[in-house]
């Protein structure tokens, strides 16, 4: 992605909204919406890893699922490799599925316990190709080699593997149809520290080898710093900041990004004790009833009057850095 020619966006998301209806009362009438994702836009360039970070309930997993149409988004557009995924009919959608795959958080829950590994990895091939059994098995072996699983284990069941190995099975399955784009939804959150590094290195190797583009969803900010080229920070269904990795970690611009980074404990006693932390007060408001104006205004240490009235738009405030905050808008600077 550091080629001289400007990189092409593989994934373009525009004003994506995903509302989940709330029904209540005896008649189960719709009385409101949980605004899990409330109008977000971003691009992911070919071969790039976009990190998507935020705390639980901020909507980051919903974004990943809505992109692949595992949910039906309420509004917006998602284009992957030039196809508008949201406007496709069922059959056309099925045909584009091989291009876009997902690696899930919990390898225990996302693998069928009654299927042997070869069947799990081969399932997308049986579904989307007309290959015979032998050709499929050959491809399964190839995939097992690629993710570092021993071919001898092809007839074993998921419970016979450790967490890290199960995650490798999930990755092999996602790779089966040679996708261009993979959504990794917290792929290492369920793994032990010493196993996380193995899986992250594998994901990076596969990216180099097959030219993959990742959306890497995680709450682990240090791991995202390692793997991502650019990072989007979400808060309560919206993007607060979207910046290149180095810029964000060296100098976060949005007050929420700043607080989030300062809250991460550093494995260095001297640094941990000297560092000035920003302790946010209170909890994240409910996405069913987000605050008026900026959704961070109830906890922001730098809140101004305008923040409680007007919703800030995500805008480029420095080259390549997009921030949704009134601190950087010209209007407030002038006034």
């Amino acid at each position: 992605m550091f080629d001289a020619a400007p990189a092409q966006p593989l994934v373009q998301v525009r004003d994506l909204k995903m509302y989940f209806p709330i029904y209540s009362g005896v008649l189960r009438r719709k009385t409101g919406d949980v605004k899990a994702v409330d109008g977000i836009s971003f691009d992911i360039f070919k071969g790039e890893t976009l990190g998507l970070v935020g705390e639980s309930g901020c909507g980051k997993s919903t974004v990943g699922r809505a992109l692949l149409r595992l949910y039906e988004p309420t509004a917006g557009s998602v284009s992957i490799g030039g196809t508008n995924v949201l406007s496709l009919g069922d059959e056309a959608l099925r045909k584009t599925r091989p291009q876009m795959q997902m690696v899930f958080q919990d390898p225990q829950a996302s693998l069928n316990p009654r299927m042997p590994v070869a069947a799990i990895i081969g399932e997308p091939l049986r579904e989307h190709t007309d290959w015979d059994g032998q050709k499929i098995l050959a491809r399964v072996y190839e995939l097992m080699d690629a993710v570092g699983l021993n071919r001898k284990f092809a007839n074993r069941y998921p419970h016979e593997f450790s967490g890290g190995q199960r995650q490798r099975i999930g990755i092999a399955r996602a790779l089966a149809l040679k996708p261009k784009f993979i959504v990794c939804d917290e792929p290492i959150a369920a793994l032990d520290v010493s196993i996380q590094a193995q899986v992250v290195n594998l994901l990076e190797d596969l990216q180099d080898e097959f030219g993959l583009t990742y959306l890497f969803i995680s709450h682990d900010l240090s791991m995202v710093r390692h793997i991502a080229d650019r990072v989007a920070v979400m808060y309560l269904g919206r993007i607060a900041e979207l910046s290149p990795r180095d810029g964000l970690y060296a100098r976060p611009l949005h007050p929420y990004a700043e607080a989030l980074l300062s809250a991460v404990p550093e494995p260095d006693p001297a640094l941990a004790r000297s560092r000035q932390r920003i302790i946010l007060k209170g909890d994240v408001p409910s996405p069913a009833n987000p605050p008026k104006g900026c959704n961070f205004c109830t906890r922001c240490p730098k809140v101004m009057d305008i923040c409680r009235q007007v919703k800030p738009e995500l805008a480029e405030v420095e080259p390549g850095r997009l921030v949704a905050c009134h601190l950087y808008s010209e209007k407030t600077a002038a006034g």
């Binding site: 705390e55 639980s56 520290v193 010493s194 300062s262 404990p265 006693p269 640094l271 946010l280 909890d283």
Partner: protein, 336 residues
């Protein structure tokens, strides 16, 4: 914290075995440590390293069978609590040793109000009346930073957010002024900004109350910020133990060294590739005769196959007091 102060808690040679259909699992193998008044001991290890089982064994919280505490002493203020009868033990649990668990949703009872749950140990252990207990519950909720405490007494756990529930759990654990507080991954289920709030609260409470704390976690970052001393566990054993600064600046066990290198940093240099520890943690089906880290160790010697290393002191202080490590390898021997 003077070194000479008598430990509040002194655990010696603890061994816990689970008997399962598939055979025995030696979850905790000869673990010794002590806790001085006012000290915060961090216990680090991966899942299956035996850190939680060790702490649950202290006050016999594990169901038996399958758990079986084979040997060891747990001296609380000089008295072995493993030898206590069940009803005597009940006076220790929750009163002299408080517990905070990882998941505040499952460890609070959903059908009782928050006020009832804080009052329960006060009525049970301190013989307070309901009204006295309610007043004390308000004080405790204020202590852990919950505003409007009197009104909140009648709230149920589901009406609280994750961070607030964990504050309630801390209030319950602190209710009877325990001598020792055992916190088992208390912030793991919380978001980082909420974790930061809880860590601040614990630092603040330590200054106010001065109790001794055991803090179990897999997060070395959390440990670096709050612990005085750190004990690293692997495969049911203590592999290294040191004051916090010493452990981070001069780790000696190959596991500790590798672990510190596998975690990516938030600041400073960014490596192109993460360092990995190859292989898997061990399954402890028998009492170990070799070093449990042997199959994954970069520095393994022939001796490591034959002999499970004992903890040895690296300074002039006895094992458990300064920096000690259970490893045959030394950085110096690498040059030979």
């Amino acid at each position: 914290m003077p070194d000479q102060a008598l430990p509040v808690l002194d655990v010696r040679g603890l061994k816990t075995v689970f008997r399962t259909r598939g055979g025995e699992v030696h979850a905790v193998n000869d673990v010794s440590f002590h806790l001085r008044p006012g000290e915060l001991l961090g216990v680090v290890g991966e899942s299956g390293s035996g850190k939680s089982v060790t702490m649950m064994s202290l006050v016999r919280l594990l169901p038996s069978p399958p758990a079986d505490i084979r040997s060891g002493e747990v001296m609380l203020q000089g008295k072995d609590i493993l030898k206590l009868r069940d009803e005597e033990l009940r006076d220790v649990r929750g009163a002299r040793v408080g517990f905070v668990f990882q998941d505040p949703m499952t460890s609070l009872n959903p059908v009782f109000t928050v006020g009832d749950q804080i009052a329960e140990p006060l009525i049970r252990h301190k013989g307070m009346t309901k009204a006295q207990a309610a007043n004390r519950a308000v004080e405790l909720l204020e202590l852990v930073g919950i505003s409007d405490a009197r009104k909140r007494l009648s709230a149920y756990p589901h009406q609280f957010s994750g961070g607030m529930r964990q504050r309630v759990m801390i209030a319950v654990a602190l209710a009877c002024d325990p001598e020792v507080l055992i916190a088992d991954e208390p912030t793991t289920a919380l978001d980082v900004t909420i974790q930061a709030q809880i860590l601040e609260l614990v630092k603040d409470l330590r200054q106010k109350l001065g109790m001794a704390i055991v803090w179990i976690t897999h997060d070395l970052g959390v440990i670096a910020g709050i612990a005085d001393r750190v004990m690293v566990m692997y495969g049911g054993q203590v592999v290294e133990q040191a004051p916090v600064k010493e452990l981070f600046t001069n780790p000696r066990h190959p596991y500790t060294r590798a672990l510190l290198k596998t975690i990516p940093s938030l600041t400073g240099h960014r490596d192109a590739r993460l360092q990995v520890i190859e292989g898997q943690p061990p399954i402890l089906t028998a009492a170990p005769t070799a070093c449990p880290f042997r199959p994954r160790c970069k520095h393994a010697l022939d001796r490591c196959d034959r002999e499970n290393p004992q903890r040895r002191a690296l300074d002039d202080r006895p094992v458990g007091h300064g920096h000690d490590v259970a490893c045959h390898w030394t950085p110096e021997s690498a040059d030979v």
